[in-house]
């Protein structure tokens, strides 16, 4: 006879099993690739595991990757619940970054106290993300125009917008080596006890709470889930499906925009072209993988994002010390997601 605690353990195990299996399979494949390329897989894995957690510096660097992955993961996860595929987190992140750097530099001599300036800049980042999500959101909700294509088009428009801002007056830093804007004033920086990552963690914690409350305790969260589960039934029950689809994408854009602002005022203190790239991919595309790995679950997502951040740091170190190409990490991540998908047999049926 099973005891109560045994039953509970079984439940946890059944939840955790696919993830553990996925990680093991992925590491097996990666070990094989590393062997074929002629490196030592054990040395590679010890680097991947020890560097991100082995020192204060490593932990700080991991946090710096964790926050953008978390936020862009939410940017994909919320619309996904309404069955909207927001591939536009990349562009929305860039728009948030542009909005906050332009505001920060416009108000650089206004003498605002940090307590006002920093939240204002985070808010402008959110607004930037909303603006970038608005066109695809309008298209998909009211004209049934496929959001995959439109959000991706907004990405590329955003990429060229960043190229413009970082190269044009009055924002550019003309003599910097790579395209970048002037630095933001010190009263605009997102720091806590003199360190960026602590402040970033607070933003991340707020975002997590907002998502949790939004998806589980509010009407709009319920409507998003209901619309995604069954569009026709949602309509029958009086949900304004068009508005819900629209809002789901807008909410996604808010989180991506926020992540752009955090990168500008909390990590680089300026807008640098290509800041959204990490280990050969964009934060937003890795955020999509994070969200897919946990099926958009607000509790699982931070865990997945943190593990991915650690993998990125470990993978970077592996490239530096051993010369193993960092793209291997990238392939490991996709493999993990694919294995989880197979194990979970995601069936979402007909989507357009």
């Amino acid at each position: 006879m099973k005891t109560a605690s045994n039953a509970k353990l079984d439940l946890y195990w059944s939840i955790a099993k696919p993830y553990i299996l996925a990680v093991l399979v992925a590491f097996g494949i990666i070990a094989l690739i590393i062997l074929i390329l002629g490196y030592n897989p054990l040395q590679a894995f010890s680097t991947i595991i020890f560097v991100p957690f082995g020192s204060v510096y490593g932990i700080m660097e991991t946090i710096k990757k964790f926050i953008p992955l978390l936020l862009t993961g939410f940017a994909f996860a919320v619309p996904l619940k309404a069955r909207i595929f927001n591939i536009g987190g990349w562009g929305q992140m860039l728009a948030g970054a542009i909005a906050s750097i332009v505001t920060a530099l416009a108000l650089e001599n206004a003498g605002l106290p940090s307590a006002v300036f920093v939240p204002l800049l985070l808010l402008t980042g959110v607004i930037g993300g909303i603006l970038w999500a608005a066109i695809p959101a309008l298209f998909v909700a009211f004209f049934r125009i496929n959001e995959v294509v439109s959000t991706i088009m907004m990405n590329f428009i955003g990429v060229y917008f960043v190229k413009f801002i970082t190269a044009a007056q009055p924002w550019t830093e003309p003599f910097a080596g790579n395209p970048t804007t002037r630095p933001i004033p010190s009263n605009a920086t997102l720091v806590l006890f003199g360190v960026g990552p602590y402040a970033e963690l607070i933003v991340g914690a707020v975002a997590m709470s907002v998502i949790y409350v939004l998806m589980n305790k509010t009407v709009i969260g319920y409507e998003i889930k209901a619309t995604g589960a069954n569009l026709k039934a949602a309509r029958v029950f009086g949900i304004n499906a068009k508005l819900t689809l629209f809002l789901s994408l807008i909410i996604g854009g808010m989180f991506a925009g926020l992540s752009g602002a955090v990168e500008v005022i909390g990590v680089h203190y300026r807008l640098i072209e290509g800041f959204e790239q990490t280990g050969g991919a964009t934060y937003a595309s890795l955020g999509i993988l994070v969200a897919l790995a946990c099926n958009g679950d607000p509790v699982g997502l931070p865990i997945a994002a943190f593990l991915m951040a650690a993998l990125l740091i470990g993978g970077g170190a592996m490239q530096q010390t051993m010369g193993v190409p960092v793209e291997i990490i990238f392939i490991a991540e996709v493999t993990v997601v694919l294995v989880i998908l197979i194990l979970r047999k995601v069936r979402m049926g007909h989507i357009i």
């Binding site: 991706i152 088009m153 428009i157 413009f164 998908l341 197979i342 979402m348 049926g349 989507i351 357009i352």
Partner: protein, 305 residues
């Protein structure tokens, strides 16, 4: 006086290839009911393999064949996950896009290694078509490399195949009503696998074209979003080959125009000119939204149940 027009048209024809071949690949796959949005990643795999094929042999045609083979093989993952394992096509497409970008760079890095100057391969030579290259202006379309001609020919072939043959009828039946197709004895799963591989092969040629067209070098993100523009293009071309070729000329024209405007210095920052193809997609999607058609069964895996 026709010199600048011929020159411009020549540039357009050179630029048409990736749009046309990638869109045709999406089209032929979609016609059987699989929506392949991973064109960007599949093209990157083709670009990397295509470069290495030419790098190893010194022959750009070998490069094209290597790109074709690599992408065809890679795209096999899509029907495996979407049909056999029945996982959502958009999710798998997104994964294959991300995976393809990483895989392409990894293959390139491990084969070529880090070098101070980019490795160089010979590019595809121009082969003028005798006779046609003498007509004023139009000659620009027929004084090109062999892949440009291939794009024209394959468009015609696919048009003929889809709408004038029995095989084409079966392909379209699988995409419109797989159950009915199954009843009349068409193997739905095999048709979908085959179409995806053929589509992947076309995307592979398109990908290999990037390093072999002008520069002779490979770099990350060389496809520059054209794989996604092709998705939009295919949708408002209503999955018809002849409209896809026309649409490809439109996008190649926009891209060539943006390029030429940068040279003459209009005062418009080049970044905004570079946005033009992407903005064009958004505008066209809005303009054509009512007429946008999809093969009826696209997006859903088939099983007899």
């Amino acid at each position: 006086m026709t010199e600048p027009i011929t020159d411009f048209l020549g540039l357009v024809a050179l630029t048409v290839v990736p749009y046309a071949l990638c869109s045709l690949g999406i089209m032929i796959t979609g016609r059987t009911g699989i929506f392949n949005i991973a064109g960007e990643g599949i093209m990157m795999v083709g670009a990397s393999a295509g470069f290495l094929g030419a790098y190893a042999t010194g022959n750009p045609i070998v490069g094209v064949i290597a790109g074709l083979a690599a992408s065809a093989l890679y795209s096999l993952l899509l029907p495996y996950f979407s049909e056999t394992l029945r996982i959502n096509q958009f999710i798998i497409g997104t994964c294959l896009f991300v995976f393809g970008m990483g895989l392409a760079d990894l293959i390139y890095k491990s084969a070529v290694g880090l070098q101070t100057t980019a490795a160089q391969v010979p590019t595809l030579p121009k082969i003028p078509v005798p006779g046609l290259d003498q007509i004023p202006i139009v000659s620009a379309l027929f004084n090109q490399n062999v892949i440009v001609y291939f794009s024209y020919v394959i468009t015609a072939v696919l048009f003929f195949l889809l709408f004038k043959t029995r095989l084409g009828l079966s392909i379209r039946a699988v995409g419109e009503n797989p159950k009915a197709a199954d009843v009349v004895g068409i193997n739905v799963t095999r048709t979908r696998y085959t179409a995806t591989i053929v589509g992947g092969a076309l995307m592979g040629i398109a990908g290999a074209y990037f390093p072999l067209e002008i520069t002779g070098t490979y770099m990350p993100l060389i496809t520059g979003g054209r794989g996604f523009i092709a998705v939009g293009l295919t949708i408002f071309a209503s999955w018809k080959p002849e409209r896809i070729l026309a649409g490809s000329f439109l996008f190649a024209g926009v891209e060539a125009l943006a390029y030429k405007l940068q040279i003459v210095n209009t005062g418009i920052p080049y970044e905004f000119l570079s946005m033009l193809p992407f903005i064009t997609v958004l505008v066209l999607m809005l303009a054509f939204y009512k007429r946008a058609e999809y093969p009826a069964a696209i997006g859903s895996p088939y099983s007899r149940e």
